[in-house]
């Protein structure tokens, strides 16, 4: 294999080492493959190869009826399945111009935010693990477990919830569930400080994350980053605020943004999002209105012909659904997902150029990709 020669000077020519990282690699978060061209330990260029988890969910959905698709969306971002459900149901509701009862919208808000915390828990754990701090991982998973318990009580499943129906919810919340959610908020609030204690002011952590993968706001927007990677670069863009869905228009919360646009700021943004999510959950759980949980949904779901794009803020970024209905059949004519991880991962190549091998894993972690969603 002929590899290009790097010129340090005539005497010191060395070859680039082509290192294949993934798909079977401990820190590529599933089945990502990154082909690195290395000069020593420095990354000269990288090629990000995806598709190892491609299951054709978009194609499958064209042959399922509108309700059956909900459980397919679970399998995309499998650490925040309920968020995917909500996004899909809202898109179909928009397509059918359905009114969703206020109680259902509140429960959706709670579930979305619980998922955000669960997803960020998994992220903070694995990200710290990538950088070598192994304890945070188990701490974060301990709290994620509490959320999974809440979900189990809510809808019987722990990972793929299938927790939404078009027009509302399949079941009302179990009695006493709201109290448990509030209890969880109290516990979680102290645990976030625990993670911060281990990482935020740790010298090694700072050295490993500060100034790594810096991207400024306009460049991040142009690259199509969304969610915490974009906000870490100082762009105050959050679909929950800009185009409110569910019951976010009635909630009070802040959108944390970073300044430097490096890995550390993305970390800080997510940690602050933990706190904001708790704030939203508290408001929504305390103010949950009485009333029906499903709106007036026709027996046969068959949206009129037309197409629409609807986006929500998933824990990873802007999760958009582009759905085309032909108005005749009971399944969508075209079902397209705009997965936030896919678009964020696109930025990886730009971010890792010039950094070291060790930073590659830190940067994959800081983008927080879920390959189930990237490949669908």
């Amino acid at each position: 294999m002929d590899t290009p020669v790097i010129h340090h000077g005539a005497m010191f020519d060395t070859n680039e080492l082509v290192l294949n990282m993934g798909p079977q690699h401990p820190s590529t978060h599933g089945v990502l493959r990154v082909v690195l061209r290395l000069d020593g330990e420095k990354v000269v260029d990288a090629d990000v190869v995806i598709g190892y988890l491609h299951r054709g969910i978009e194609k499958l959905s064209e042959n399922r009826n509108w309700t059956q698709i909900i459980l397919l969306t679970d399998r995309m971002d499998y650490v925040a399945a309920a968020t995917n459900n909500v996004g899909y149901c809202e898109t179909v509701e928009k397509l059918m111009s359905l009114e969703v009862p206020r109680r259902a919208r509140y429960v959706r808000t709670i579930l979305c935010e619980l998922q955000r915390i669960a997803s960020h828990c998994l992220w903070v754990g694995t990200h710290a693990m990538d950088i070598g701090a192994m304890t945070v991982f188990l701490y974060a998973f301990r709290e994620r477990e509490l959320i999974l318990d809440l979900f189990e009580e809510m809808c019987g499943a722990r990972l793929t919830y299938n927790s939404m129906r078009i027009g509302g919810l399949p079941l009302d919340i179990p009695p006493g569930w709201d109290k448990k959610v509030l209890e969880f908020c109290t516990i979680m609030a102290t645990k976030i400080d625990e993670y911060e204690e281990l990482l935020t002011h740790n010298r090694i952590w700072l050295e490993r994350t500060k100034g790594i993968g810096v991207i400024d706001g306009p460049a991040a927007v142009a690259l199509g980053l969304s969610g915490p990677p974009l906000r870490g670069s100082g762009v105050p863009r959050d679909v929950r605020k800009d185009e409110p869905y569910a019951a976010y228009d009635e909630m009070e919360f802040d959108v944390p943004i970073g300044t430097a646009g490096d890995t550390y700021d993305r970390y800080l943004v997510r940690l602050e999002e933990f706190r904001q999510s708790l704030r939203v959950i508290r408001q929504a759980t305390e103010g949950i209105p009485e009333g029906p949980i499903v709106g007036k949904v026709p027996r046969l779901i068959k949206p009129p012909a037309g197409e629409t794009y609807h986006a929500i803020e998933s824990p990873k970024g802007e999760l958009g659904y582009f759905i085309v209905s032909d108005g005749k059949s009971t399944n969508p004519y075209r079902f397209r997902v705009r997965p936030p991880s896919f678009c964020n991962l696109q930025g990886l190549r730009t971010l890792i150029k010039g950094h070291l091998v060790a930073d590659v894993v830190a940067l994959i972690g800081s983008l927080d990709v879920v390959l189930g969603e990237v490949d669908r």
Partner: protein, 118 residues
């Protein structure tokens, strides 16, 4: 005097013997069902395309060279340190000159960027 080294020789023999014994012993009892895929070098699930042995970055050699310089100089200090009590001021001044030369070289290497990794 030399007799105090005999235990070391025995130890080397015993330790090597132990290592060899375990390797031979386990080679008799472990299963060996090999196939082509199992014997391939690890490349994250992709068939390795190129030989791993290639020309590496010059940095590693630079570090090795710096190490040789420093370590040899440090070894010179061992006997000096042992009889430091007897040499005292003479020994100190002599060693300060020696260390000064070392530090000048070190400073040069620093300024030349030999200690920078990236």
């Amino acid at each position: 005097m030399l007799s105090s080294y005999i235990p070391i020789a025995i130890f080397v023999a015993v330790a090597t013997g132990f290592a060899l014994f375990t390797l031979v012993f386990t080679s008799l009892i472990h299963p060996s069902k090999y196939n082509k895929v199992k014997l391939e070098p690890y490349e994250c699930g992709i068939e390795p395309l190129s030989d791993a042995r290639d020309r590496y970055s010059i940095r590693y050699y630079l570090v090795a060279m710096l190490f040789v310089i420093f370590d040899v100089e440090t070894v010179f200090m061992f006997p000096w340190a042992v009889i430091f009590d007897k040499l005292l001021l003479f020994g100190l001044i002599e060693m300060l000159v020696f260390i000064f030369i070392l530090v000048v070289g070190y400073y040069y290497a620093w300024q030349k960027g030999a200690l920078e990794w990236v």
